[in-house]
């Protein structure tokens, strides 16, 4: 493997507990996706179908909040193998819609009600194949360190493009990521849609 200064940047995206709207918005980059493909390798995410998070990734956009054990494991794998982690969209940044269940308290009561007390179901809370729910839905930065926040539900394609290419520029030039975030226009930040 070549060193990070001479090889093409390795970019990943990840889909935790979210609606995939941020990835839809990512696809709205349209022709800018060609620009991305020209200068970087997309190595993980719903668009690549890789099963295991790779090592030595330069930039990962993480969509979605952390709501179950799968999300937690993937988030930790992302942090361990990524230089710049971007909290991508409102669910990752604040919990957003995904975190609405937090107001109901621990989900075990809810699972009991739905799976056990419901007359048409098996009478047991499923534990195989499906991941266990965490007691509370968390924004990404409460689980792993996050370098850049890109709010929006979803962030518009323009905002994604601006952030993505500014970050790639900084990564290729070996610049400080914090300066990229500090240089954002106010309009590049907005919760909701």
């Amino acid at each position: 493997m070549t060193t990070s200064s001479t090889r093409r940047p390795r970019v990943a995206t990840a889909w935790l507990a979210g609606c995939s709207g941020c990835h839809m918005s990512f696809l709205d980059l349209d022709e800018a996706l060609f620009d991305l493909a020209e200068r970087a390798d997309v190595v993980f995410g719903p668009l690549t179908d890789a099963k295991v998070f790779p090592t030595d990734v330069d930039l990962t956009l993480v969509e979605g909040a952390v709501t179950n054990t799968d999300n937690l494991e993937l988030a930790q794998a992302i942090r361990a193998n990524t230089r710049v982690v971007v909290s991508f969209g409102d669910c990752a940044v604040t919990g957003n819609i995904t975190a609405l269940r937090n107001a109901l308290g621990d989900p075990s009561e809810l699972l009991q009600r739905v799976y056990v007390e419901h007359p048409d179901l098996t009478g047991v809370v499923p534990t195989e194949v499906v991941p266990g729910l965490l007691p509370k839905v968390l924004p990404l930065h409460e689980v792993i360190g996050v370098d850049v926040y890109l709010p929006g539900c979803p962030p518009t394609a323009d905002r994604i493009k601006t952030a993505l290419f500014a970050l790639l520029d900084a990564i290729e030039a070996g610049e400080d990521i914090a300066s990229v975030a500090a240089a954002r226009a106010p309009g590049d930040l907005r919760f909701g849609n």
Binding site: S87, D90, V93, T94, G95, N96, I97, A99, L100, N102, A103, L104, K136, P139, H141, E142, V146, Y149, L150, P151, C153, A181, P186, G187, L189, R190, F191, G192, N193
Partner: protein, 276 residues
């Protein structure tokens, strides 16, 4: 604009005098009116100072603390909305420290409420959402509390969602000072503080509510809205309050939104949602 039926009279207070108080604002020497607040001066000169609880047309509350400024020689940070200018005052409307304070205040408001912009009636026309953008809040570095307050949908026209309430008391002041009904109050203190209607009754059962809708017009977030409003559809009208306050003081001026003021009887109810 049609001819104003009531001759304009000079408004009471600072504007009737001449600007003769020498003040330094962000390094520039400017003249303020006697009795003018730092916020009014800054706005008159186009210097942006973020506010949330402040609302033209009603009394000063000074609760949100977003408009803190630095005044030379003062250890504490005074509120621009509640501080009158004085001769030779040196005011700074922005600094790294002030920006940090404002970011923290906005982030704390997000942390203590349930502000899910994507699912909120006010998204796109919300002062809290705008403040996050203006002050550079891109995430909330505090633990989010995910409160679960009661939603009061008992009123035939309006809804109160307390999870979105920032306790700015605009509705309290508008209802008391403009409508004269005093339906709203804040009960409890600290993190238990909550907006209540009447004697902590369901809003729909409060006999003193005239259903004028001024509280809904004045609300900066999605806490008060019209029944049936879907996500992103709420259109607040905080300028209505200043318009009504001015009109009652005998000043008839066109609204920012192009509407032209008329005597109360001729114009009919200005407020959306007014009872027939």
């Amino acid at each position: 604009m049609s001819a104003s039926p009531v001759p304009p009279t000079p408004p009471p207070g600072p504007r009737s005098a001449r600007p003769n108080v020498a003040v330094t604002l962000d390094g520039e020497e400017v003249l303020a009116f006697p009795g003018e607040t730092v916020l009014a001066l800054a706005r008159r000169l186009g210097v942006p100072i973020p506010t949330l609880c402040q609302l033209d047309g009603v009394s000063v509350y000074g609760g949100c603390r977003l408009c803190v400024v630095e005044v030379e020689g003062e250890h504490r940070l005074p509120l621009a909305c509640a501080t009158e200018v004085s001769a030779d005052m040196e005011v700074r409307s922005t600094s790294a420290e002030l920006r940090d304070h404002r970011r923290r205040i906005v982030a704390l408001l997000f942390a203590e409420g349930s502000h899910v912009c994507a699912a909120c009636v006010a998204s796109g026309a919300c002062e809290l959402q705008d403040l996050a953008t203006e002050t550079g809040v891109d995430h909330v570095p505090y633990e989010l509390t995910f409160p679960s307050h009661e939603v009061d949908a008992s009123h035939p026209f309006f809804v109160l969602d307390r999870d979105r309430c920032v306790l700015c008391t605009r509705c309290v002041r508008v209802c008391d000072e403009i409508e004269g009904a005093h339906v709203w109050d804040i009960a409890q203190r600290g993190s238990d503080a909550r907006l209540i209607a009447g004697m902590d009754q369901p809003w729909g059962e409060v006999a003193s509510c005239t259903s004028c809708g001024k509280c809904v017009a004045a609300c900066p977030t999605g806490a008060l809205y019209h029944q049936g409003t879907a996500s992103g559809e709420r259109r607040p009208d905080p300028g209505l309050i200043a318009f009504l306050a001015d009109a009652r003081a005998g000043v008839w001026e066109p609204r920012d939104n192009g509407a032209v003021s008329q005597p109360r009887d001729a114009a009919g109810p200005h407020e959306q949602g007014t009872t027939p």
